[in-house]
Amino acid sequence: MITQGKYLKSFSLGFQSSLEYRANFIISFLSTLFPITIQYFLWTALYNNSPNGKVYGYNYSQIIAYTIFAAIVSKFVSGGFESEVNEDIKNGGLNKFLIKPIDYYKYRIACFLGQKVSQFFIMAIILILTIAILNITLGYSINLARIFIFFIVIIISIQLSFIFVYCTSMAAFWLSEAGGIFVIGGLLLNIISGGIVPLEVFGNTINHIFNFLPFKYIIYFPINILNGVIVGRQIIYGVLLQIFWIIVCKKFADMLWKQGLKRHNAVGG
């Protein structure tokens, strides 16, 4: 079908461009190793000096696993297209989409998923290797069911993450220089999703409040499924909440788009 064709092409373009700067591609994955290293040493030092071998309710292998997985998953769910959207809005590139029979949201998510495919496989490989190594060195428990559920949940997480990043990029309609918002938004989103440290660090009350907000379900939720911290019925509730928030946020995104377009037209495109 013709409609499938154009989104498939977008997918392919996203994939090609991700291969283009090969040095960047490899090194940027490497640069995530550094924060992991710092956190590894921090947690190790904490556990070495801790009286009962548990910190924030996690045992050592779980916290190390969390640290590594969080970094990998953070990279995987991150946007990267905000600046392109910004460009489109600022420099009239949007016009070429508005006159064509193509839906901008669908175009963006198709490109996004195209870029994510190669990253998905790399992430999967690294994750499995890490689990194996952790099992051997720290006695981290392997459970095939949990791993399988993790991969399914992560695909839902990525949709949720996409919508958040997409909404953030709508800021370009109102701000002349939206780059800062992307950075702040991305960083704060990452922190409250549990992308750097598990949300227990923020105390019990805050962690409890997060149960009802969408953010936890992007990073903290899938990782702790893998860790065996979230089990059984909690998983199902979590997934339902993910889907709920996807629906709500997509509505929000549509509204932002409409408002943004009005504004875009008003200032002359």
Partner: protein, 325 residues
């Protein structure tokens, strides 16, 4: 003043093919290609001359200019500007020349011009009285006094170019290199800048090299032009003599009172344009008189004009000659 001998510049780049399969291939192996930007260029320019570099895009004009300003090292060959080797980047050398590149600004975008000028004053160590004198004079001639305090981003393209020129001349360089200074400007601005450059050249005996692909720039300003095509110098001399280098032909434009047969006209010369009662003929110079007499006497002429072959064409022919020959 400027001596260039056998200057050459070659650089390397990578080939990129389209498509998914080739993207994968490029991940492992890329093909290196070489481009000869400048091939064996030589010329000498005396103090006070106003020389134009003419040539199509990618011919090597800008590359040559960059070598003369010390920005690039040549692959081989020599050059001396005011006795210095440009790419040794001697500070004394830098203090006495200036380069203005049409698309690259040296002025700070968000600040009024006078702030950028103060920076140059400090960099070139210009003392106060000299600075003020130069500034006032330049501003006067270019008529931009009120614009000094306005932020550069708010100026029109033409005004910005004038400011760039002021910034480039504030330290009174002896040699000025201009790369496409009138590109993108409206006709009035182009004229203003040309007049200014002519004025500056005659008043201060500054040596100026200008690159352009606008004929008018070269025609009005340069007594001498060097035509560069595909990295080589294909012509070096006066503009007026270019026609002499090539064709000994002139153009006759005739309007008749009635329709004249095409075959009759093609006996006289090569037909460039034909519209029944109007024709443009290309005629051999040596037979010009003879043919014009024939036309005037034997044909019902309403209007007749004799012209030079347009400069663009002549130069176009030089490019092509060089390609083929």
């Amino acid at each position: 003043m400027i001596d260039v001998v056998n200057l050459c510049k070659t650089y390397e780049y990578y080939k990129k093919d389209t498509g998914l399969k080739n993207s994968f291939k490029n991940l492992f192996h890329r093909k290196k290609l070489y481009k000869n930007a400048v091939k064996d260029i030589s010329f000498t320019i005396e103090e006070g001359e106003f020389v134009g570099f003419l040539g199509p895009n990618g011919a090597g004009k800008t590359t040559t200019l960059k070598m003369l300003s010390g920005i690039l090292h040549p692959t081989s060959g020599n050059a001396r500007v005011m006795g210095y080797v440009p790419w040794e980047r001697n500070n004394e050398f830098k203090r006495n020349f200036s380069i203005v590149m049409g698309q690259k600004n040296q002025l700070w975008w968000d600040l009024p011009t006078n702030e950028s000028l103060l920076l140059n004053k400090c960099i070139y160590e210009i003392d106060d009285s000299k600075y003020n004198n130069t500034l006032n004079e330049l501003v006067e001639v270019l008529d931009v006094k009120d614009l000094l305090k306005i932020q550069v981003r708010r100026l029109s393209l033409g005004e910005r170019m004038k400011m760039e020129i002021i910034a480039a001349l504030i330290h009174r360089p002896k040699i000025i290199l201009l790369d496409e200074p009138t590109i993108g400007l409206d006709l009035v601005s182009q004229r203003n800048i040309r007049e200014f450059l002519k004025y500056y050249n005659t008043t201060y005996k500054a040596t100026i090299i200008l690159t352009s692909h606008y004929m008018k720039d070269i025609e009005e300003l340069c007594t001498r032009t060097i035509i560069i095509n595909k990295g080589q110098s294909v012509y070096d001399g006066k503009i007026t003599e270019i026609n002499g280098v090539l064709k000994d032909a002139k153009i006759i434009k005739i309007r008749f009172s009635t329709h004249i047969d095409k075959d009759v006209l093609s006996q006289i010369g090569r037909i460039r344009e034909y519209a029944g009662d109007y024709v443009v003929l290309e005629v051999d110079k040596t037979r010009l008189n003879e043919h014009s007499k024939t036309i005037m006497n034997d044909m019902p002429v309403v209007d007749l004009n004799i012209e030079e072959i347009p400069l663009d064409e002549a130069i176009e022919a030089i490019y092509n000659n060089h390609d083929g020959g």
